[in-house]
Symmetry: C2
Subunit: 211 residues, 2 copies
Amino acid sequence: MNKLKQKISEKTIERLSIYRRYLKDLQKNGKDRVYSHELAQLVSGTAAQVRRDLMQVGSNGCSSKGYEVSMLIDEIAKLLDCSEKQNIALIGVGNLGRALLGYFSGSRENYDIVALFDNAPDKCGRVICGKRCYSMNQLTEIVKEQKISTAILAVPAEAAEETAQNLIDAGIKAILNFAPRHITTRSRVFIETLDMTKALEKAIYFSRKNT
Amino acid sequence: MNKLKQKISEKTIERLSIYRRYLKDLQKNGKDRVYSHELAQLVSGTAAQVRRDLMQVGSNGCSSKGYEVSMLIDEIAKLLDCSEKQNIALIGVGNLGRALLGYFSGSRENYDIVALFDNAPDKCGRVICGKRCYSMNQLTEIVKEQKISTAILAVPAEAAEETAQNLIDAGIKAILNFAPRHITTRSRVFIETLDMTKALEKAIYFSRKNT
DNA sequence: TTCACGCTGTGTAATATTTCACAATTAAAG
DNA sequence: CTTTAATTGTGAAATATTACACAGCGTGAA
Ligand SMILES: NC(=O)c1ccc[n+]([C@@H]2O[C@H](COP(=O)([O-])OP(=O)(O)OC[C@H]3O[C@@H](n4cnc5c(N)ncnc54)[C@H](O)[C@@H]3O)[C@@H](O)[C@H]2O)c1
Ligand SMILES: NC(=O)c1ccc[n+]([C@@H]2O[C@H](COP(=O)([O-])OP(=O)(O)OC[C@H]3O[C@@H](n4cnc5c(N)ncnc54)[C@H](O)[C@@H]3O)[C@@H](O)[C@H]2O)c1
């Protein structure tokens, strides 16, 4: 409830996303209340941590009855979501890009991929998975036209930095980058890199360290 | 140099993986020395953090000449890699699985996908991207036979938990999970979940918060 | 009503991670 | 040889994140 804008940490935002997905499942299954310790399992955390996270969205849990599922979903949505559906662009419609396109297309309430971009002539102009693929030099135009805020970047590593800069210049405000390259920028655009090679090497390392 | 086994944090392991990838690029380009502040840019960190990371692998940087690239690569390899090439299994050869298969197959020095598993009859028995796909009931047998330590899990969310338990029972020591499900286990197996939906929702959130 | 129980909200402590800051070291120039 | 400039290694401080612990409340049973 308190509108004192203390900044919410990235970690908390991530967990809220996870809580919400689970809460929607609960709702589908007819469960209408949930305890902090149940949510805690989702993130291998403690109940106290969950309660702290939920405080930040203006939680109103009830002693001994826990939290009301539908209200929690609403409160998290109020924080995470924008009032209008967010338009997303996918840059690079290759092997990974196509998988992501199928995965993220439709069935999401608050965002949708609305445009594809690629520099391969055989892809530009085509409609893939119901979405039109544009050439890179239409980027600025389409981003403005469709009010695209966020881009998923799935181009080869060599092209990642330059493409990211083009996206920023076109007015994109956040990038989810799948290329195994760290992208530096002086602008205040949010860039999240999902580095699968890093993740796999880490898993391999810890496969020998545990037990 | 000091063999006092202080545990190295996950964060440091991740950064070492990133440093190494960059160092190999440098090596290809003929650069044979590197400064901590150069590596720092890679991870949006500080030079001091890089030096701390490198201390943990037994760094031997040289004042005013920085670190020797080839030696750093060797030291990091000594920590991250096993002496033998690690065998990886891919579970779930769907849209994402096939993309991952292409991405991680070959061209990696220290690990390789050696077996695929799926429960779809039309996939079992086939060879995809040069790798044989087995049925799930051959899991334990093949894992033992091929000494598979680590698995990439790309099955539907509903099947993720059960499949993960099967992997653990079969002797897998680490799992890289792409299903949007947290996997709980009482065993000491390492499980890393790469949650793309979480990452995208986070990006969308911060697209409105920055600037 | 009264009590016991279980859960939330939160101050405080503990831990983890990052950054600062500087002595020591090396290279190179004068 | 001496000075200057740059970089490493690292103790200590700062910050971020998580966990503990308990007061207070709501619920249901007696
Ligand atoms: N395939 C995977 O499973 C996987 C896994 C992890 C990371 N990645 C990373 O994701 C990225 C894409 O991988 P992929 O397997 O889909 O590669 P891909 O070669 O199949 O697809 C790349 C696509 O990007 C397009 N492209 C190339 N340069 C471009 C540019 N300058 N501007 C716009 N489009 C351009 C190409 O035309 C192609 O359609 C790579 O950086 C890769 O390292 C892929
Ligand atoms: N496609 C993407 O880009 C994407 C992105 C993010 C996350 N994911 C997640 O990755 C997972 C796979 O996604 P996908 O798009 O490849 O799905 P998919 O349906 O294309 O592929 C799933 C594969 O798993 C197999 N499978 C199903 N149940 C199984 C079981 N019990 N044991 C073994 N194999 C089984 C199926 O036969 C199929 O081949 C899902 O959990 C999805 O949520 C996918």
